[in-house]
């Protein structure tokens, strides 16, 4: 009759076999799980926006294989900054948002814009400029123009030249001038009264009577990258017709009383600009007629302004007209001036002759000019909700290993108990 110990042997063998089978099964399951690349899932509920650091961290997780998704509302708001090419050193911030936007900087609120697009031009931004719309903040650093060159004014002795030069000088531009008093007499200012790309950022022409030599030098100047502003009578210079983007299609006299009615540009005599070339850019209109038109010519820019006798704006306008006239001329010249940094070799060390010299600000790493676009770019579009299914179950139940271990231990204990090895 088999002994008790001998009767245990089949059970021991069964236990060992089952334990090994269970271990093998666990091994197979684990292998398959690794092969499947089981990942973590991360879902972020965003309310308003994510900081760039957080967004980049999540993008890194996604790149490492985790499943990252997000949901919530992030307002569509974009901000950009561009240096205003004027001696003021201001920055123009452009903002587009689909709801009302609060504009501010590190010191607090500056202004606000209603839904849509708008710009804020200021030199008073401290730190980052922030546009907050419905809780989402787009931020960008201020930019200031590099060193600007001088302006050459070519005109006739008269009020228009006088006040144009005055406006530009008051705005901080360094001005050279050549003013015709008669066929043989000119009144000059500055060291360089011929257009010179190394010294001048732009040339302002106010005199329709240009000699051939002067016209040729201006054309060369523009093609080499300089800016040209044609205004008043000079808006249709025969000698420079090849550079212009528009022709004068009509001349209107100023409207009486327009200064008092707060419409100074309507009070000025006006050369309507029409017959635009295909590359013309209309910068400003007056009653749906082009008033200021720009065009790129080779490396330079040409701006035609149809407003004549702008000096009347300064003298006869209502309160604020002196500043408005100054801003108008500074903007015309700034827009014509080249975008690239032109090192003004003629800039002297004297403090009087220093224009804006601060370099362009390198955008900060924490700037976030388009939060929604960056978020979608990094993590994909928003999910409606967190994934509905439960997280993937662990294919390796913990009890599997425990039971296998128990069986093997029991088998070993039984063998040892009966004295077997």
């Amino acid at each position: 009759m088999p002994s008790r110990a001998e009767r245990r042997q089949p059970w021991e063998r069964a236990a060992r076999g089952l334990g090994l089978v269970l271990l093998l099964g666990a091994l197979v399951l684990a292998w398959r799980a690794v092969g499947r690349g089981d990942t973590r899932r991360v879902h972020v509920a965003v309310d308003g926006g994510l900081s760039p650091v957080m967004r980049d961290s999540l993008a890194a997780l996604a790149a490492a294989g985790d499943s990252v998704s997000w949901s919530g509302s992030v307002a569509a708001v974009i901000a950009s900054a561009e240096a205003v090419r004027e001696p003021s050193g201001a920055t123009r911030f452009n903002v587009v948002a689909d709801s009302a936007t609060a504009l501010g900087d590190s010191l607090g609120l500056i202004d606000s814009l209603s839904a849509g697009a708008g710009t804020l031009t200021t030199e008073g931004v401290r730190g980052q400029f922030a546009a907050n719309s419905s809780g989402t903040t787009a931020s960008v650093a201020a930019r200031t123009a590099p060193a600007l060159g001088r302006v050459l004014v070519i005109g006739r002795v008269g009020w228009e030249s006088k006040f144009t030069i005055a406006a530009l000088e008051e705005a901080g531009w360094l001005v050279d001038a050549r003013l015709r008093l008669s066929d043989t007499i000119t009144v000059e200012q500055g060291r360089s009264t011929a257009p010179n790309v190394g010294a001048h950022a732009a040339v302002v022409v106010l005199d329709s009577l240009l000699g051939a030599e002067t016209a040729n030098s201006i054309a060369r100047f523009v093609r080499a990258g300089g800016g040209l502003v044609l205004s008043g009578d000079a808006v249709r210079p025969r000698a420079l017709a090849a550079l212009t983007a528009a022709r004068v299609t009509g001349v209107e006299s100023g409207e009486p009383g327009a200064f008092q009615e707060g419409e100074p540009l309507h009070a000025l005599p006006f050369h309507a600009l029409g017959a635009l070339t295909s590359d013309a850019v209309v910068l400003e209109t007056r009653d749906d007629v082009s008033a200021v038109v720009a065009r790129r010519v080779a490396a330079g820019r040409v701006i035609q302004s149809g407003y004549a006798e702008t000096w009347r704006w300064r003298m006869q306008g209502e309160a604020g007209s002196v500043e408005a006239h100054r801003a108008h001329w500074s903007r015309l010249v700034g827009t014509a001036a080249p975008a690239e940094a032109f090192v003004a070799r003629t800039q002297a060390a004297a403090s009087r002759e220093s224009a804006v010299t601060s370099p362009a600000v390198i955008p900060s790493a924490t700037a976030d000019p388009a939060p929604l676009a960056s978020l979608v770019d990094a993590l994909g579009p928003a999910q409606a909700d967190a994934p509905a299914s439960a997280p993937a179950r662990d294919p390796l139940p913990p009890w599997l290993g425990a039971i296998a271990l128990l069986l093997l231990v029991a088998e070993w204990a039984s063998r040892r108990a009966r004295g077997a090895s």
Partner: protein, 203 residues
């Protein structure tokens, strides 16, 4: 529209029109020596009127006391701030006279204190060169009025910009003749007027 129109200031208190031929004389001088597009006659503009701002150079003269109204004062101050230039000439040539005393007081009250304009100022080289500063007038040399030859003009400046020029030299009398009579003069005595206009048009 001409590039330059000679404007005479009309003010309430005095004989602003005491030198009606000055306009023609200066216009004549500008035409003789430059190709400036200048209006053939002058205009009269009330000092307290908004029309003042159409003429960034204005001539003011007289014999009688000058007393600006508040409107004239305010308009003049704004005119100077915006870039206008007022030239005031004492037609009495008398620093003890009432025009000088009152005009000086009104200018200082409306605009600012008057100081001597140095003889090397760019005004004296704006077109013709006057080495010794403002040219003398025959009235000065004849002992008219205060019996003095005034060495300097006076000015009020906003920053570096001259906004009021004051003369005790009686250019109003000096230039009060029909310009056709210049042919009888060996030296054109109205050249300084050209300097004034060119200076005003360029500075």
């Amino acid at each position: 529209m001409p590039d330059f129109v000679f404007a005479t200031a009309q003010y309430d208190s005095g004989d602003w029109d005491s030198a009606p031929l000055v306009a023609a004389n200066i216009i004549d001088g500008l035409a003789r020596y430059t190709t400036l597009d200048v209006a053939p006659t002058g205009v009269v503009v009330p000092l307290g009127s908004k029309d003042l701002f159409k003429y960034p150079l204005v001539w003011l003269t007289g014999h009688l006391p000058v007393r600006f109204t508040e409107v004239e004062r305010t308009t003049l101050r704004e005119y100077c701030k915006r870039g206008g230039l007022l030239f005031v000439d004492d037609h009495n040539h008398d620093v003890d006279g009432e025009f000088h005393r009152t005009a000086w007081e009104e200018i200082e009250r409306a605009v600012g204190p008057l100081k001597d304009l140095p003889s090397d100022d760019p005004l004296y080289r704006a077109f013709f060169t006057f080495e010794d500063g403002p040219p003398t007038t025959s009235h000065e040399l004849n002992g008219w009025g205060d019996n003095l030859v005034h060495k300097h003009l006076q000015c009020v400046k906003f920053g570096e910009r001259v906004v009021v020029l004051y003369s005790s030299k009686d250019y109003s009398s000096e230039w009060s003749y029909h310009p056709d009579n210049k042919r009888f003069l060996s030296v054109d005595n109205s050249k300084f007027g050209v300097n004034l206009v060119v200076y005003a048009l360029t500075r």
